[in-house]
C-alpha cells in the first residue's frame, strides 16, 4: 500500500511537478477526507427525538473543538512542506514565476483547513433540515407566538429603584410607584371590563428567534415585546390553535379546557399582580415547557443557521475566508523572501502599530488637536505612514534588508490599511445631530453606514490582497532575483 502510494507520488512529481511542490495531491485528498469525516460525525448525530438546542450545541461544539487539533496540525505541516519545497531558500520555488497558482492553492488549502471545524455543523444541519418541516414551522410559529402567552406567564413582577426610572419609562411598561420610592414593573394579563377585551403583555414573536428572520424573509417576523389587546373570543381561538400546534414541538398541554385555563390565568394574575414578592410562581399549563422551548430553539437555529449550524450560512463563509486569505498571504510572503527579512518585517509591523497607538494616546492625553478631529488625524497619520513606507521601499541609500522588511510589512498591512481607510471615512461621515429629527437631519450624512458599504470595503480588501500578490511579487523579484546592491 505504502509502496503504491510512493509510486503514485513519483508519477505525480514527474508529470505534474508544480502540483507536487504545492502538495495538492496529498493535502487535498487528506483534507477532503478529514472534512468528510467531520461531516459524517455531524450527520451521525441521532435526532430521532428532536434534541434540545443545548444538547445539539454540546455535540456540535464538542466536534468543533475536537477538529481544532487536526486543523492546526494540517496547517502547520502544510506550512512546513511549503518552506521545505517551495520557498526562496530551496530550489523548487514557484511563487516568483507562478504567483497566482501558489497563492490560490494556498487559499484553497487553508480554506479547507480552517473550515474543517465547522463542517460537522454542516453535516448536522443537513440532517436536521431533512427532519424539520420548515414550511410547517413557519406556519406554526405565528400560532405558537400568539398562543404561548395564554399558557405560560413567568414570574411577572420585578422591583426597580427610582434611579432607574428613565430606563423603565422607555420600556412602555406599566409602572407602579410604592411609597418607599420603589417602582414595580408589572407584566400583566388582565381583562378590560369596559370593553371585554383581554389586555396582555406578550412577545409578538417567540423569543427564540430574537433578531432573526425565520425562513422566508418576506415574513419579517422579528421578536418584539409589547402590549397587545385582543377580544376574549380571539384569545380562546389562539388557545385552541396553540393546543393543536404545540404537540408537534413537544408542547403537550396538561388540560385542554381553554375557558378553564383562561380563568385560571386571570385569577393567577389577580392574586399576584400587586405583590412585591420576587418569587411569585409562574403560570404554566404546558406539560414540559423546557422541552417545548428548547425544541423551538432547535428549529429556529436550524432554519436561521445559527449557533452550531453557522457553517451552513453562506454569509459566514464570506467573511470567514479572511482567515485563509491572511494565512495564505503570510505563507506566500514567507515563501518569497528570506526568513530573516520576514522576521524583521514582523518587528516593523509591531512598531508601526505601537507608533499609531502612542500617537493617538498622546493626542488624547495632551489634547493637541481640537476635539472631533481624531479621525482626520488618523487619516493623515495612516497616509503619511504609507508614503514613508513607499519611500523606504524605493530608497537606494537604505540598507537592502531594511527596505525588504518595510516591503514585507506593507504587504502584510495592506488589507488592514484599506479597511482602516473605509472605517475612518465612515466615521468621518457620522451624523453629528441627535434628537427627534435625527433621521431628517442626518439623511445627507450617513451614505456609508450600511451593511453594503462594509461588504464593499471587505471585497476591496480581498481585491487588495490579490493585487498585492501581483505588485509585491514583482518587488520581491527585483529585491531577491536581480543583482543586489551589497
Amino acid at each position: 500500500m505504502l509502496q503504491r502510494f510512493k509510486n503514485w507520488d513519483v508519477r505525480i512529481s514527474k508529470s505534474y511537478p508544480k502540483i507536487w511542490i504545492l502538495g495538492v495531491h496529498i493535502y487535498l485528498p487528506i483534507l477532503t477526507i478529514m472534512a468528510l469525516t467531520f461531516y459524517a460525525f455531524g450527520w451521525a448525530y441521532n435526532i430521532t427525538n428532536m434534541p434540545p438546542m443545548r444538547e445539539v450545541n454540546d455535540y456540535g461544539y464538542g466536534l468543533l473543538q475536537f477538529a481544532i487539533l487536526p486543523m492546526l496540525l494540517a496547517g502547520i505541516m502544510y506550512f512546513i512542506r511549503q518552506i521545505k519545497f517551495n520557498s526562496l531558500r530551496v530550489h523548487h520555488h514557484l511563487p516568483y514565476k507562478n504567483p497566482y497558482l501558489s497563492f490560490i492553492t494556498f487559499v484553497i488549502v487553508f480554506f479547507i483547513i480552517t473550515a474543517t471545524p465547522f463542517i460537522a455543523g454542516v453535516g448536522m444541519h443537513h440532517k436536521f433540515s431533512k427532519q424539520i418541516d420548515e414550511r410547517q414551522f413557519i406556519e406554526d410559529l405565528s400560532i405558537l407566538n400568539k398562543g404561548y402567552s395564554h399558557f405560560y406567564q413567568k414570574e411577572f413582577t420585578g422591583v426597580v429603584y427610582a434611579a432607574s426610572v428613565s430606563m423603565v419609562s422607555d420600556s412602555d411598561l406599566e409602572v407602579v410607584q410604592s411609597p418607599e420610592g420603589k417602582q414595580t414593573i408589572v407584566e400583566t394579563y388582565r381583562l378590560d371590563k369596559a370593553t371585554g377585551n383581554l389586555i396582555l403583555y406578550r412577545e409578538i414573536a417567540h423569543r427564540e428567534v430574537d433578531g432573526n428572520y425565520i425562513g422566508d424573509t418576506s415574513l419579517q417576523c422579528y421578536a418584539r415585546y409589547g402590549w397587545d389587546t385582543i377580544s376574549v373570543a380571539q384569545a380562546h381561538q389562539e388557545m385552541h390553535d396553540f393546543i393543536d400546534a404545540a404537540p408537534r414541538y413537544y408542547g403537550e398541554i396538561k388540560d385542554k379546557d381553554v375557558q378553564k385555563i383562561f380563568m385560571q390565568h386571570l385569577l393567577h394574575v389577580a392574586k399576584y399582580r400587586d405583590t412585591e414578592d420576587y418569587n411569585s410562581p409562574d403560570f404554566n399549563q404546558i406539560g414540559d415547557r423546557n422541552r417545548f422551548e428548547s425544541t423551538l430553539g432547535t428549529y429556529s437555529a436550524v432554519i436561521t443557521k445559527d449557533d452550531v449550524f453557522i457553517g451552513s450560512s453562506l454569509g459566514f463563509w464570506l467573511y470567514y475566508i479572511i482567515f485563509s486569505l491572511s494565512v495564505s498571504t503570510i505563507l506566500f510572503i514567507v515563501c518569497s523572501v528570506r526568513i530573516i527579512d520576514f522576521g524583521w518585517s514582523m518587528l516593523v509591523v509591531a512598531l508601526t502599530g505601537m507608533f499609531v497607538m502612542i500617537a493617538n494616546g498622546l493626542l488624547t492625553v495632551f489634547r493637541w488637536l481640537p476635539s472631533n478631529t481624531e479621525i482626520q488625524f488618523n487619516l493623515i497619520l495612516i497616509t503619511v505612514l504609507v508614503v514613508i513606507f513607499m519611500l523606504l521601499i524605493g530608497a537606494k541609500w537604505l540598507k537592502s534588508s531594511i527596505s525588504k522588511a518595510f516591503t514585507i510589512a506593507l504587504q502584510l498591512l495592506l488589507p488592514a490599511t484599506v479597511f482602516a481607510y473605509f472605517g475612518l471615512f465612515d466615521n468621518l461621515h457620522d451624523c453629528p445631530y441627535r434628537g427627534e429629527n435625527w433621521a431628517e437631519q442626518c439623511k445627507d450624512f450617513e451614505y456609508f453606514t450600511n451593511t453594503d458599504y462594509y461588504l464593499m470595503a471587505y471585497g476591496i480588501c480581498v481585491l487588495a490582497s490579490l493585487f498585492g500578490v501581483y505588485v509585491f511579487n514583482r518587488i520581491y523579484i527585483r529585491q531577491y532575483v536581480h543583482p543586489k546592491q551589497q
Binding site: V10, K14, W20, K84, F85, V90, H92, P483, Q486
Partner: protein, 302 residues
C-alpha cells in the same frame, strides 16, 4: 568560439570596507574553463557573485550576446546560469526526488526523466546514492549532486565558487575531470568559471586563469602566456642536509631564492632538466619539486 559572458570596466566598491574590485575586461568562451585565483579577501567571491547576477556592479555586462541592463529579465536570464555558492543550501527529501522535480520543471517528459537522470548520475558517479537524503552523503557528493541538479537545467554558464574546498584530493581531481568531460560532452555552448585555492588542480584543467590581488586583476590569460621571458620559477623542498647551508649554495649558483614556508622558490634561466641535473650533481635529494613557470602561483609572492 561563442562568447558566453563578457564584462568591460567592471567596478565594484564596498563603501564601508573601502575594498574595490576592478576588472577591465573579462570574457568567458564556450567550451572553456576559467580559474579565478588569489588570496583570501581579494575579491574572488565578489567577482563570481557579480558574474552569477547575485551582486550589483558597474560595468558593461553581456550574457549570451545580450547586454544586461535595468530592463533585463533576471528571472529568465538566471535560468541559463548555474551558480554553486560556497555554502550549498540543504536539499529536503531524497536526492532523486529533487532531481526528478527539477527535470520535470525543466520540461523533460515524464517518460524520459528516468533515462536522462540515469545518464547524468552515471556520468557523475552518483547512481548508488540517488535514494539517499542530503544528510546521508558527504560534502563531496553534495557538491556533485548540486552540479547534477544544475546540469539538468542545461545552463550555458556555470559559476562555481570554491567548489574544491572541503573535498579530498581524489574527489577534487574526480570533480575537475568531470567538468572537463562535461564540456567535451555537451552539445551546446557552455562556459565554466570557478574559483579555488587549489592552484595545481585548477591549472590542470583551466583554459584561462585570472589572478586577483587586492581587487585588481594581475593576470588574465591562458597558462602558456604566464612565463616571463626566459625566466623560470621552481618550487622545491629538499631532504635535510646536515652541515650544509642550502640558501648560500643557491646564492652561489646565481639563483634568486625566496623562502615560502617549507619551500624554496628559485628563479633562474635554467631549464627544468638543467636545473634538476645541477641539483643532482650536487647530491641534493629532492623531496618535492614543482615548475611554477606557467603557474599563477608565482604571482602570490610578488
Amino acid at each position: 568560439m561563442t562568447e558566453i559572458f563578457k564584462v568591460e570596466n567592471l567596478k565594484k566598491k564596498f563603501n564601508r570596507s573601502g575594498f574595490q574590485l576592478s576588472v577591465d575586461q573579462l570574457s568567458l568562451l564556450a567550451g572553456s574553463i576559467t580559474g579565478v585565483v588569489g588570496e583570501n579577501g581579494n575579491g574572488k567571491t565578489t567577482l563570481l557573485d557579480i558574474i552569477a547576477g547575485e551582486t550589483k556592479a558597474n560595468g558593461q555586462f553581456h550574457y549570451f550576446g545580450i547586454e544586461a541592463n535595468s530592463h533585463t529579465n533576471w528571472l529568465e536570464l538566471k535560468n541559463n546560469i548555474g551558480f554553486i555558492p560556497q555554502r550549498i543550501p540543504r536539499w529536503y527529501g531524497t536526492l532523486e526526488q529533487n532531481l526528478v522535480i527539477k527535470a520535470a520543471l525543466e520540461g523533460i517528459s515524464a517518460g524520459n526523466i528516468d533515462g536522462e537522470l540515469d545518464k547524468l548520475l552515471d556520468f557523475l558517479g552518483l547512481q548508488e546514492y540517488r535514494k539517499l537524503n542530503w544528510t546521508e552523503i558527504s560534502t563531496g557528493y553534495r557538491l556533485r549532486f548540486e552540479l547534477a541538479r544544475i546540469l539538468i537545467g542545461n545552463p550555458r554558464l556555470l559559476v562555481l565558487d570554491e567548489p574544491l574546498a572541503n573535498l579530498d584530493i581524489n574527489t577534487q581531481q574526480k570533480f575537475l575531470s568531470d567538468l572537463k568531460k562535461l564540456l567535451a560532452k555537451k552539445d551546446y555552448p557552455l562556459a565554466v568559471i570557478l574559483s579555488s585555492q587549489q592552484l595545481h588542480e585548477i591549472e590542470s584543467v583551466a583554459d584561462q586563469m585570472l589572478f586577483i590581488k587586492k581587487g585588481e586583476v594581475l593576470y588574465n590569460g591562458n597558462l602558456a602566456n604566464i612565463a616571463l621571458d626566459e625566466e623560470h620559477v621552481y618550487e622545491l623542498q629538499l631532504n635535510d642536509r646536515e652541515g650544509h647551508d642550502t640558501e648560500a649554495y643557491f646564492d652561489s649558483m646565481g639563483y634568486k631564492v625566496c623562502i615560502v614556508g617549507p619551500y624554496y622558490q628559485i628563479t633562474t634561466k635554467q631549464s627544468v632538466s638543467i636545473f634538476l641535473k645541477t641539483l643532482s650533481d650536487n647530491d641534493m635529494e629532492i623531496k618535492y619539486f614543482r615548475n611554477l613557470s606557467n603557474s599563477t602561483k608565482r604571482f602570490f609572492n610578488n
